[in-house]
Symmetry: C2
Subunit: 148 residues, 2 copies
Amino acid sequence: MVKKALYLDDLKVGDSFISEKYHLSADKIKRFANEFDPQAFHCDESLAEDTFFKGLAASGWHTAAVTMKLLTGSLPLAHGIIGAGGEITWPQPTRPNDVLYVKSTIKEIKPSKSKPNQALVIVECETLNQRNEVCQRLVTTLLSFRKS
Amino acid sequence: MVKKALYLDDLKVGDSFISEKYHLSADKIKRFANEFDPQAFHCDESLAEDTFFKGLAASGWHTAAVTMKLLTGSLPLAHGIIGAGGEITWPQPTRPNDVLYVKSTIKEIKPSKSKPNQALVIVECETLNQRNEVCQRLVTTLLSFRKS
């Protein structure tokens, strides 16, 4: 289903968006970790037992990447999701077979002074598991455009 | 080369660490984007021309993942690189054939009051390209452990 693109005038503080769900298997966790975060607690179930995480956990950057995937399907900003950055925290690890979804809420809209057709939109994106526990909280600044 | 693991007592504010280099090809950019950030400006050179980025650019989360890969080889914290989160910005896009490296600098060391064998270490990680332009700045909070 193609969602209607949202322009600046379509957005208001408090609007929220719920993504589809994403199943994170142990195999996916280990494949991402082998490429980008090759540490024992992300790559090997048995080695992970004796670490801080006490079992296999996804790289936080894997949770972030999955979050982005879910945002691309749930936050249909016109001209795309273009982020300048954000604050990210991982209140608890993402585990094998977690089923993740993202709830995004618009917290603030800051019109650009120099570019009247643009605004910065502050969006809080919570990545939740199947028990509705927050695995990642991202407060990010995104670009939004007026319909021209 | 296996680097000596660094415990809390080995770290001091101002210490810095330089990673190896990582070549980010257009194919890698598109492969990551197809899985995690399937937007035109990350997936297709010709479609990317007419976007905000005016050409193919890596997903910011890909730059973050590559940064983590480079950190695992350059910041040998004992018990691993365990992050609680951080502040991330992308001052400019990462482009095909950029050669990235990471410079990490310890900014602050905050001993834990409740866990005397631990501290939170604030590390600024700049991800630079072959022209020494900052593509990503990450200020992250990592766990460090005293040698027991």
